[in-house]
Symmetry: C2
Subunit: 877 residues, 2 copies
């Protein structure tokens, strides 16, 4: 039979998933001999049972809990419901990860009309006893019985008014006795029963309430936002009460072993004398800084200081402590690794290594890679932010802070930027044609689209701040303004500020703090570089991206999407002419025009990368993406090519596809139009030969064939590449080594990777498409149903943000193994959006990839995640 | 080192894939001691080497061939190039499967200006010798040197004119000597070299020509049409010549051991005295029936009769023989299993079992499942067909023969059918809205679309004859006519005839022969039923389909696509109202309207199937498929619902998807609109309870959830189904057992089938979607590039016709194993288009599925294929 209840003395810190974070740490502190009030924990498995059993606590679990209660009574020498010596307990929720939104705490459970008298007698403080009972009734009614708290607040106010006092603490024991009657009457009127007098009944209700709170909407939403699986469950901690509000030799407080905002090594925190925990949080009385405790109760401060040092050394991390002082004696109620800013995280990690208390590996594990975003991008000054009111909110689609003048048209934005203006591009939604405008903007704001919309993906790739999906505003692109819900109008040229970390939009210019990538950040990055096994490359389509990535320490380009170069204003016309060609000759002529441009692009990339690996992907998207959408553009193009508008419209129609994602794209283009692959190969090989000569370094171009599903497709395209490359080398009388590889982005490619590997020098996992095909839904369309999937807990994570290890990951693993089985020396990497997401990077490490490739601003995150993966896997050995 | 050349005496019939069919059978006959002229075979592996080595025969292979030649010379006592006793050989191609389009035969190789004299002396027949040489030059020049045959024909005509004769055979030896000079001059003028005199050089040229012919366009096309992999390669047979044209005691002929058109058990065939093989084919002289040989050369007939019986008994199948008589002695040149009509195939198989010469299992293997189509559908009278000229040609999209009046509008077609007219529906292409019209039509003809277009797929499903993709005609639907390339106009009401087996369209009414599914067909089906392990179900959406399927022996319905019921004229409006509802209340009201109709549908299905399993799939396609496309329909709908046209257009726009195939469909609809699943479950359960009561049989509804990718989706929808079903049973106070299962049609479903199996009672593999997602291309869009894929031999087969065993099949296998690992008792089947395709059925048998489900007219094919799979797998044990 499973054990569902553990006394604190039975557990330890390693049982976090079973006992929750709070319970495991209370047990650990108990084991360390620290002064922890006695108690027990009902496990997270009991929570899962609760839901499996249709939201009820199974009788055997309740029996176990009541047995644990009996043992607790014996341990502390008090009894539940005893008038002489009543046991009072707190009931707290506690999941394996800290999570707001769940039921927090019920204090003083065990009080009833009788025990309250015992408490009064035992403490000699009837006022304290009645006040405790009153608080308990209010908390229990609200949290367990789901009554509205304001009912009780009104009664409290009425009594205060009647008594002519302003503060709760000014009420006399008699006032409180009267108030208790009111409270109980309110309860009965509302619930039709008397307030439960049986402490066991109170406890059963509280345990149920904790389990129930695991799934309330706020907790659910928080889990969704923070990628916490619902299956974790919460534990329930039942602990005997200690009182910080019994008199002036009592108090309560919180402390950090180091500063959570700067990382400074000193005890930080605050405390209140004669108070219970909730008073510190409530903010009615102003708490004192912790240093004051040294003067007020020196022996307590010394004990706390001693415990703080012991716990930090024990947990090897900065601790966030809760304590209560009852009649001059210090009790520890909680310890946990403290939350901290990114700057503090970096400083604490570095200094603890310098102090010799942790290893570099420990330090690397101590920094959350996701937090690095705030160090890598500018942020608004916190004080300025406090005073500003957002005029619109959207999704935090790409981090950073940006101010500039609003422009609603990419071309006008580009002109303004050319004049030296700082520009924010405001669009209903963006499309590939807007890329130039996005590139010159400080930030991007859209009315439509989610976290994986075009605007969001491209902005993250560029490291540009972006607030996407501001649904509430109305954007009129034609007349160049937008209107907020408060009917404010922002016109072209008006200054606005975007907060990409929070998804907020402000009027005017807010002052920013620049990114800081030196100091502790640089030290941690250095350690990550020493430790990690995975290589880190970048997805970069322009020399500018490449340079940015090099600054962050990219070791190569894992993905250059050549089509992004096609949207430039000066070449889109040639691209369009190529696409609408009806003969091979026409197409070749257009390609001839594009050739020198592509060659120059690649040359600059090679020069920027100075011999580091550069993987260039051949043209991938369906051709109609490049076609004009507006009728006037169609007319212009028709005139340029010299065909009728009707004819051109016919060509455009014939290029439309029912499911473009599953249509004529990727290597299928190279099969039907080999001349495109030939042009691109020509550009790549010539550019590489030129750059080798000019730069004096060796270049081995890596040419990547997209969307391969069968080895013969790769064989065919490789044939075109080889023939073209050989011809150029022969013509120039020069030579180089190049590699032809492929994306693994179709399920069939993964399933037949052993065959494909015979023709490929490398694999690059395109996890965006691979996820789409494996799940059978497209990113563009899944917005219609994924919200319901989250609501109903069908999905816990967005598969386009985190690699779905169960399904997509299985294919990747299979492909790695199959590929190496026939071609042991091939190198493998990942170049989807997932390449910069920590859990996905860890997965890549574990399945044995050689590198991850991500957008430039994600490189530090990927590096740290790669180092953490290495440390974790080494430690798991 | 590989052996590339085998003497006939070294091989046998089992070496078919290495020696080709012809070579293996020549070797087998040699082994049986039959009179076969000596020779050797160059293997199919040598052919593959030829292509691997860049279209040249490797020196070591050529050396091996020349060694075999030397051995042949010794064996027959003649020498290549000898004047006294010249060895002459034939060179023939021969793949493992018989294949027109490849180089057929070069006879008399070894003749040159010298050996021709030796041949004249040896035979005492200079005219014969010169004629042989002339024929050789012509054949060699054409086949090996790729010269135009007409050059030689002209010279031949000139000589005949000059000699004043009409027939080749009237030319004298002198005439022929002169002609030889002309021939050699033509050769030299054309090729710039003398006609090769070295027999070895001739042989090398001929071997190269055979290998080259493997890949000529006709052979390539034939392979494509017949699913023959290019990797098979062809062998080359080199055989010493025997002459049927040396005099009146010589002859040549072909014979079948039974009638290839009716199957009658007697020697069939024909022969010509004093002739070479090509003369029989050429049709200049009329061959005599084989019975005549008994009178002309009784000992030869007896020998042939004897050999024929021996070979049929040996091969246990009807044989197609080629023989030559040289100076009164019979030589066998070829034996192979004879091609036959479906009727003959059935009769031969049945009679050979009755004769005791083969087992039932042998008989089952003897009938090609694909041939059954012609027995199952009406065909045109062969004589009428001979005289008719097609006015248009297209793809043979669905078999059968049909005549009727052309209608261009589905509604008008339905009206005409209601008047009792026979109707052919003619459309540019069909869409789901045309289903009613297709259903009442005798046949369907379209201008656009391939073998997997909507028209083709639906027509095959209905067993309706269809000619699709008649690209050359111009259809004007609005004005109700079509124009052929010869400017013939066919107007509404004109009679046309469709040949769905050949893809041809004729004017007027051609007489048809009805399908015949009794007699031998029924016997073979009975044996198939005894033998097969796989169950056979049908895909049926209407009671009519179900009844048709039962006639063919369906054992249940494997797939009822409920959406097909939604297109009926009397319900599409309710469906549309359901879709454009903006509130749950509106949607429920529309669903309430649909409920009784669905309930009636299901009731009729259950009654028709009399307790056999019926698998009903919940609504699957994206909702916008049901929406009106024409503006007037939109206006009508808007009026009906009482919203503005603009509003309705907005709703329609909002339902459009970028990639509908990967969009909001399948179980995703049930997640976002649980009320749809609730309505369908209500209809299913109520109908089943009613039918159980009325029919007196037990029904266990199988409810199938489509497009599941994660177990939690299934869990969610199953929750809705269970809750609804339980409520109904409770309300009615009746009960039944039902099963909830899922389609496996997404790669992720296959990859996580172990999890999904915990919630599913059955799996049904939806190989259409599974193939689309695994390959990452949609059926609708792949037409743009698949033709090039076939041309470049990247694909050998259409993955939507045959299960791709390497990729998709791997997923299926994985899903079967994973599913059974957690739920050993679940049943599994397939319900994609592949369920009626023989190689796919065999695959299903081999991976251990329980049944296949296919359209009604494919059931006999599936049955036979299933029986064959069982026999083959038993024999492989």
């Amino acid at each position: 039979m499973s054990k569902y209840v553990y006394a604190f003395s039975e557990g330890n810190a390693s049982m976090r998933s079973l006992l929750g974070g709070k319970g495991a740490n209370l047990a650990e502190m108990t084991g360390l001999g620290l002064p922890v009030p006695s108690g027990f924990t009902i496990t997270t498995e009991a929570c899962n049972r609760y839901y499996a059993d249709g939201k009820q606590v199974a009788p055997e679990i309740m029996e176990e809990a009541l047995n644990a209660l009996k043992a607790l009574e014996e341990r502390v020498g008090k009894q539940f419901g005893s008038v002489e010596n009543p046991l009072l307990v707190s009931v707290r929720s506690g999941a394996a990860v800290s999570m707001p939104g769940m039921m927090d705490t019920i204090l003083n459970l065990g009080l009833n009309d009788e025990t309250v008298k015992g408490l009064a007698a035992a403490t000699g403080n009837p006022r304290f006893a009645y006040d405790s009972y009153r608080r308990f009734i209010q908390m229990f009614s609200n949290v367990v019985m789901e009554m509205d708290s304001s009912l009780f607040e009104k009664a409290l106010e009425a009594v205060k008014e009647k008594a002519g006092v302003k503060l709760d603490s000014q009420l006399s024991a008699e006032n409180l006795e009267e108030l208790l009657k009111d409270y109980k009457a309110i309860f009965k009127a509302n619930k039709g029963i008397d307030f439960p007098q049986d402490p066991k009944e109170q406890l059963i209700g509280a345990i149920n309430a904790v389990f129930r709170s695991w799934d309330n909407p706020r907790a659910h939403f928080y889990r969704l936002m923070n990628d916490i699986p619902s299956s974790l469950g919460t534990a329930v901690n039942v602990q005997s009460m200690v009182f910080g509000n019994m008199g002036d030799d009592c108090g309560t407080g919180v402390a950090f072993t180091r500063s959570p905002s700067t990382g400074e090594n000193a005890l930080f925190g605050e405390f209140l004398m004669n108070a219970q925990g909730e008073d510190v949080v409530a903010g009615i009385r102003t708490p004192k800084p912790i240093a004051q405790l040294k003067e007020d109760m020196p022996h307590c401060f010394d004990a706390l200081w001693d415990i703080a040092n012991k716990l930090e050394a024990h947990y090897k991390d900065m601790q966030d402590l809760e304590f209560t002082i009852e009649k001059g004696k210090l009790y520890m109620l909680q310890t946990r690794n403290g939350k901290r800013t990114a700057a503090a995280a970096l400083r604490i990690a570095v200094e603890m290594v310098e102090e010799g208390s942790i290893t570099k590996e420990d330090a690397l594990l101590m920094v959350d890679p996701k937090q690095l975003d705030s160090v890598l991008h500018p942020t608004f000054e916190p004080n300025a932010l406090k005073e500003a009111n957002p005029i619109a909110t959207g999704l935090p689609a790409s981090p950073g802070a940006a101010c500039g003048r609003a422009y609603f048209d990419p071309e006008k934005a580009a002109e303004a930027a050319a004049r030296g203006e700082k520009v924010i591009l405001v669009r209903v939604e963006t499309s590939p044609e807007d890329i130039q405008g996005m590139n010159i903007a400080e930030g991007i704001m859209t009315a439509r689209g989610g976290m994986t919309s075009h605007a969001a993906v491209v902005a993250r790739g560029m490291g540009r701040c972006c607030v996407a999906g501001c649904n509430d505003i109305f954007i009129d692109e034609e007349n160049a303004y937008f209107r907020t819900t408060e009917d404010r109008i922002i016109r072209e040229g008006d200054y606005i500020s975007l907060d990409g970390n929070m998804g907020r939009v402000y009027m005017g210019q807010l002052p920013t703090i620049p990114a800081n990538v030196s100091g502790n950040f640089a030290i941690i990055m250095g350690w990550a570089d020493e430790v990690r096994r995975l290589g880190i490359r970048t997805n970069a389509d322009t020399p500018r991206d490449a340079k940015q990535a090099l600054e962050f320490g990219a070791e190569g380009i894992g993905l250059c999407r050549t089509e992004h170069m096609f949207f430039d204003e000066d070449r889109i016309m040639a691209v369009r002419r190529m696409i609408v060609s009806t003969t091979e000759r026409q197409r070749k002529a257009a390609l001839e025009e594009l050739l020198p441009m592509q060659r120059q692009d690649f040359y600059e990339l090679y020069m920027a990368m100075e011999g580091r690996p550069v993987t260039i992907r051949l043209l991938d998207p369906p051709l109609h993406e490049f076609l004009p959408k507006e009728q006037e553009e169609v007319e212009f193009l028709a005139g340029q090519i010299g065909i009728t508008v009707d004819h051109l419209n016919e060509v455009i129609r014939s290029l439309q596809e029912v499911n473009p994602m599953m249509g004529h794209r990727g290597c299928r283009l190279a099969v039907t139009f080999p001349e495109i692959a030939r042009m691109q190969t020509t550009a790549i090989i010539n550019a590489a030969l030129d750059a080798m000569k000019d730069g004096g370094f060796t270049i081995e171009p890596q040419i990547m064939v997209p969307l391969v599903g069968d080895v013969k497709e790769l064989e065919f395209v490789k044939g075109i590449i080889d023939e073209t490359a050989n011809r150029i080398m022969e013509e120039r009388g020069e030579s180089l080594t190049y590699e032809v590889g492929t994306m693994i982005e179709l399920p069939r490619a993964a399933l037949t990777a052993d065959e494909i590997a015979t023709q490929a020098k490398f694999f690059s996992f395109g996890t965006n498409d691979l996820s789409q095909m494996t799940f059978g839904f497209s990113r563009d369309d899944s917005g219609k149903f994924l919200p319901d999937y989250y609501t109903f807990k069908i999905f816990e994570n967005d598969p386009f943000a985190k690699v779905d290890q169960k399904g997509v990951g299985k294919l990747i693993k299979m492909a790695v193994e199959l590929g190496r089985s026939t071609n042991p020396h091939m190198h493998m990497g990942i170049c989807g959006e997932h390449g910069g997401e920590p859990s996905s990077v860890e997965f890549c490490h574990n399945v044995g990839l050689d590198y991850v490739s991500c957008s430039p601003f994600r490189i530090p995150i990927a590096k740290l995640a790669a180092a953490q993966a290495k440390v974790k896997s080494d430690r798991a050995k």
